[in-house]
Subunit: 192 residues, 2 copies
């Protein structure tokens, strides 16, 4: 077993908030190539060029880092959904958020699995009291006209886009961009 | 490390086909309690009471056993869908197959993950040339009236039920039996 002395690692200097951002960014980058089990705080410290001790001040353990990465993933996904809705025709806006969900998942497979496999609080985020959730609820209510129907529509839509993303990520369906448009089709989905 | 001599293991006698069935049954049972990574042919041999050599005659490696377990899982799931369709009102038959999909997933989480996480050939099974696939295609075509629409409807329905199953298995939505009925609702899903 090789013990790496942290005192010999290159040490860079960060302002407090900057270091946290740098660590999250390094974690997201590591997630693209490193299996989740192999991700370590020590590795992230090396990538960023600080001591393990400096990392522990922000993330006392690996779970804390993963939770921060998942939060960042959720925020990115919500932003991509808002952007997609903003540029779509009004009648297509709700479907556009669903397509953005699947496309984000395909672009960030490991982060998507981290968000939905490990973070029990996502459901609350998706249906909670935040901008993206409010936007989706408004769309759903605009389509169904009542709150119970909107709640059901959101669950149906979430299930559909989540399932399409998983089936494509697991190789059950081709990760084909045109297929995303055909399956998430505002004309044929959901009677109201 | 403890080495178990297979010659001291209890040895039972099986007809050729019976042993294969017994091994698959033991594998399915082991899957309920043992993480996939820890599942071993040696353990299955012990569970069934035969030598490892006897197991290798049917399954040369773990991948071959897992493939057989997945095939059994797909068959069970298809049977549960057929049973659900047979006992549902005609207008509810297609939705009933979707509910059966989710309920089967919740009842067999490890096998469900094995089938859809590891078996690239499932898509072909679901849309292939077999009884269950033909039944689903007939329902879809009966609803949409044309083949292209039926293909899209099947992809939408598969995505929706798969997503609902995954969100419930991963704890994002409560694994609530009534919720399955509300989300997979023939009255509100899919314009045709």
């Amino acid at each position: 077993m090789v013990t790496v002395s942290t005192s010999t690692a290159p040490v860079r200097s960060y302002h407090h908030g900057d270091l946290r951002s740098a660590l999250v960014e390094a974690g997201l980058k590591a997630l693209e190539t490193t299996p989740l089990n192999d991700l370590s705080l020590r590795q992230i410290a090396r990538d960023v060029g600080v001591s393990a001790t400096a990392v522990y001040r922000h993330f006392p353990d690996k779970a804390a880092l993963l939770s921060a990465l998942a939060a960042e993933g959720i925020a990115q996904m919500a932003q991509q959904q808002r952007d997609a809705a903003a540029t779509a025709a009004p009648a297509q806006a709700f479907a556009a958020t669903g397509r953005a969900y699947v496309r984000w998942a395909l672009a960030h497979p490991a982060l998507f699995r981290l968000v939905f496999g490990q973070c029990q609080e996502v459901g609350q985020t998706v249906f909670g009291d935040n901008d993206a959730a409010r936007m989706l609820r408004d769309y759903a209510q605009g389509i169904t006209g009542d709150e119970a129907g909107a709640q059901r529509l959101m669950l149906q839509a979430w299930s559909l886009v989540h399932g399409l993303a998983m089936l494509m990520l697991d190789g059950q369906l081709p990760a084909d961009d045109g297929l995303i448009d055909r399956v998430i089709d505002a004309e044929t989905l959901f009677r109201t």
